[in-house]
């Protein structure tokens, strides 16, 4: 039992180490280093030995000395004897092994003897693995988007693996792609159009949704249950089904290529979510306040503007942020309804740019950064509001 657990522990820890070192090597390769192999066999042997020696010498050496000794040994093996690489790479390797050894410091022969110990260890390492894996898989494309926008055409072609940013070239060269897309591709105009459309959608949606949500939350009327269920059903309804009829109707009415047309469609598609989210919040406001207002002979307009809105600022702002994000990110309708570059939104403009095979990719990525940044900024900054709303209403997508 003891031997089996020891071997299992060492194996799990070793696989985790291999993963750590491989990720580090990939990142180093992307900074322009030439590393041709992961050396998995060697790292496997070293990792296994480290885990094993750790268990054996557990009580005999202070943890910090142990971490330093193991890390130094590993760096000497991997970084110096096998590949001749710059100092920063070896320092990074040292820190990684240090991190690894301090992680396995928690385990010793006594807790290996406990029941389910291997499962506990597996769970712990899987969590660590997951955190690193998902961070890498998710952040890497964003990182790539950003770095590519700072590169030149030649640099991209010469070494597609070089993801280092050359800060030495001066700000003007660094932001060259951004200057170009603003100057030659009219991105300033597209940003304005996108902003007008998104902010406009927010305002109109709120104007329509607040009264409707208030009615659904508070008033009794015939067809109320029908209305609230249809809100949900409509919310599920596929946008692709609306495209052809709306296209034909908008063509005949001359609403294509117009901001008004987009505003109408975006408002209609976001209204159900907005009403659903707002009515949930309105229901939580104590009724007594309105009863007092009714005694004061306030009309429904007064109740909404003087009582409901001031009390639901958090909910209203989270709905507003959502609708803004939906409208800003929307692509399908802008593809269908806009074919004149004068009325493009940002998303449509980027898609149009990519349609030309000649367009250098750093311009495409600069455009992508511009369309992504506001959304990510809003999301990170207002995350608390948005996450609670996400689970309640959930953005369509």
């Amino acid at each position: 039992m003891k031997i089996k657990n020891t071997i299992l522990f060492s194996l799990i820890a070793t696989f985790f180490l291999i993963f750590l070192v491989s990720i580090w090597k990939i990142l180093a390769t992307l900074q322009g280093l030439t590393i041709k192999t992961f050396n998995i066999e060697i790292i496997f042997i070293i990792g296994f030995l480290i885990s094993l020696f750790h268990l054996i010498f557990n009580d005999k050496i202070k943890p910090i000395y142990k971490s330093i000794i193991f890390s130094s040994l590993f760096v000497i093996f991997d970084g110096y004897l096998i590949q001749k690489l710059p100092l920063w790479y070896n320092v990074g390797t040292f820190l990684i092994i240090y991190f690894f050894v301090s992680k396995i410091n928690k385990y010793n022969f006594t807790n290996l003897k406990e029941e389910h110990s291997t499962q506990v260890i597996l769970f712990d390492f899987l969590t660590l693995f997951g955190i690193l894996f998902f961070s890498f898989v998710i952040l890497f494309p964003f990182y790539m988007m950003l770095v590519t926008s700072f590169k030149t055409q030649i640099a991209l072609l010469v070494n597609p693996l070089d993801f280092s940013i050359n800060f030495g070239q001066g700000l003007k060269d660094l932001f060259n792609s951004y200057f170009v897309i603003f100057k030659s591709y009219n991105f300033g105009k597209y940003i304005i159009t996108s902003t007008i459309v998104s902010v406009g959608t927010v305002i109109i949606t709120l104007l329509f949704a607040i009264p409707a949500a208030y009615a659904v939350a508070r008033l009794n009327f015939f067809g109320k249950t029908f209305l609230s269920t249809s809100i949900l059903i409509i919310y599920m309804f596929p946008a692709i089904v609306l495209v052809i009829p709306l296209y034909t109707i908008f063509s005949q009415l001359g609403l294509r290529n117009s901001i008004e047309g987009l505003l109408i469609v975006y408002t209609a598609t976001t209204l159900p979510v907005a009403i659903y989210m707002l009515q949930g919040y309105f229901k939580s406001i104590p009724k007594e306040l309105e009863e007092a207002a009714i005694l004061d002979r306030l009309s429904w307009f007064g109740i909404i503007t003087k009582i409901i809105i001031p009390l639901s600022i958090p909910a209203i702002s989270s709905v507003a942020l959502y609708v803004f994000m939906i409208a800003w990110n929307e692509f399908l309708f802008s593809l269908m309804f806009l074919d004149n570059p004068n009325s493009f939104t940002l998303s449509r403009a980027i898609q149009y740019l990519s349609g030309d095979a000649e367009t250098p990719r750093q311009y495409l990525m600069a455009g992508s950064v511009i369309v992504t940044l506001p959304v990510l900024f809003i999301f990170v900054y207002f995350e608390k509001y948005l996450v609670s709303g996400l689970t309640a209403g959930s953005v369509k997508g």
């Binding site: 390769t29 992307l30 041709k36 499962q119 899987l126 969590t127 997951g130 955190i131 998902f134 998710i138 964003f142 790539m144 988007m145 590519t148 991209l156 693996l161 329509f208 949704a209 009264p211 409707a212 009615a215 008033l219 009327f221 409509i234 599920m236 309804f237 596929p238 946008a239 692709i240 089904v241 609306l242 052809i244 009829p245 296209y247 034909t248 109707i249 063509s251 005949q252 469609v265 408002t267 209609a268 209204l271 159900p272 990110n329 399908l332 940002l346 998303s347 980027i350 990519s354 495409l364 990525m365 992508s368 369309v371 992504t372 959304v375 990510l376 999301f379 689970t391 959930s394 997508g397």
Partner: protein, 419 residues
């Protein structure tokens, strides 16, 4: 007294909801009916423009006769396929203009030229010319003359409003050789995308539910793919996977994992042998599904995490007392607690993935075996310009979705009964 109060409440409710209901009706419900209508018609993209009579006015001076002027109207029917009936024409002139030659179809009164041109067949063109003379010999202002625009009017059929129906579109859609392939592709895309995003959602939710440093940061990061604009993400992936200079292929070649680059988005099949069995994998479709999972697992993550955080701690404490292993706890406590959320998520994601258009469109445009039903709506309607066909495909989508929802709720209802 109570009655009137209830009545005013009702009235208020209708006033408050009416704007929203009307808008949603006009933009969402009405188009669905319009879709059914169009799907039974033979309509092409070019048919939906309403035919208009048009005139281009050209002003020409006549040599050596300064008091006279020639005005040429280039008349035409804007439609190439439909006639316009009872075309009428009107144009105004300055107060000193007398007409020299009056066309029999026209009438000149009060410095206003009125003509009745009758019916114009499709593609109709005519050069209509009038000569005027000023009665006081003053100089003619050509620019001002040109700035007055003629008014034209006529009647035409709107092809969308007539009652010629046909079953041709549906026959074409359903009995097309590719229809089964289309259905299968859509099903693979939807099913594996849904299942994949739920599995990743469970894994990440379980992960973030542990205590570790930087947990809130991790939660934001995990939602990035879901909140960022699809256009930016799709092009970044395309760049990442590009066979010629994409990062992924370069990395794999650098580490000698592959010898030649793989065109992950442009290759329909790839041969893979596992344990001696050779089989073909739909490569481009798999890549697109990967993107789909990457982009949408955050939704599953959020829902499942919210549910996980609501599971009472006592359950786990009791399990610890009983000596349950972490895996036992996961399978015996966590999983049963989140099945309800998962079944809702499955439905939501299944429906949305079934209709997903942008992701596939931006990544492959529907090429190399990734043509799903929504892509087909676009291709029929706008690439082949057959609006009727496109409508018919979207009706097929709606019917399939309704069937799915019906069976899903039936199955779910049974489960609930059993419990």
């Amino acid at each position: 007294m109570n009655d009137t109060l209830a009545n005013t409440e009702k009235k208020t409710a209708y006033i408050l909801t009416l704007p929203a209901v009307l808008l949603v009706f006009a933009i969402i419900l009405f188009p669905i009916f319009a879709n059914v209508w169009i799907s039974f018609k033979e309509v092409e993209l070019k048919d939906i423009r309403i035919p208009e009579p048009r005139a281009k006015k050209i002003v020409k001076s006549i040599a050596e006769e300064t008091s006279k002027i020639k005005i040429l109207y280039k008349l035409r029917n804007s439609s190439l396929i439909q006639e316009i009936r009872d075309v009428s024409f009107q144009d105004n002139f300055p107060k000193n203009f007398e007409i020299v030659n009056l066309d029999p179809r026209c009438d000149y009164k009060n410095y206003n030229l009125k003509c009745e041109f009758g019916n114009w067949p499709a593609k109709y063109r005519e050069n209509f010319q009038v000569i005027f003379e000023t009665n006081d010999g003053s100089k003619i202002d050509k620019k001002k003359l040109k700035s007055i625009k003629p008014k034209l009017d006529g009647k035409s059929d709107n092809i969308l409003l007539n009652t010629n129906f046909t079953l041709k579109n549906f026959k074409k859609v359903l009995f097309d050789n590719e229809f089964i392939d289309l259905l299968l592709t859509t099903f693979y895309y939807t099913f594996f995308g849904t299942v994949g995003s739920i599995i990743f959602g469970i894994l990440t939710a379980q992960m973030v539910n542990q205590k570790f440093y930087g947990r809130t940061f991790m939660r934001s990061v995990l939602l990035f793919p879901y909140v960022a604009p699809v256009v930016a993400l799709a092009y970044t992936w395309e760049l990442l996977l590009d066979p010629n200079s994409g990062t992924l292929n370069s990395l794999l070649i650098n580490y000698q994992i592959i010898e030649t680059p793989i065109n992950l988005l442009g290759q329909k099949y790839i041969e893979i042998s596992v344990l001696g069995f050779d089989f073909k994998l739909r490569l481009a479709l798999t890549t697109v599904i990967m993107f789909e999972i990457w982009r949408y697992f955050p939704l599953a993550f959020l829902f499942i995490l919210a549910r996980l955080q609501a599971i009472p701690k006592e359950l786990y404490e009791a399990a610890d007392v009983d000596g349950a292993s972490p895996f036992q706890k996961f399978f015996k406590i966590t999983l049963p607690q989140i099945t309800a959320v998962i079944s809702i998520l499955f439905m939501i994601r299944f429906i949305w993935n079934f209709n997903k258009f942008e992701d596939v469109f931006l990544l492959t445009g529907g090429a190399s075996g990734t043509r799903t039903l929504p892509i087909n709506v676009y291709q029929q309607g706008f690439a082949i310009s057959d609006i009727g066909m496109g409508s018919a495909v979207s009706i097929v989508i709606v019917v399939l979705l309704l069937m799915f929802m019906f069976f899903y709720f039936k199955l779910l209802g049974k489960r609930v009964d059993e419990n």
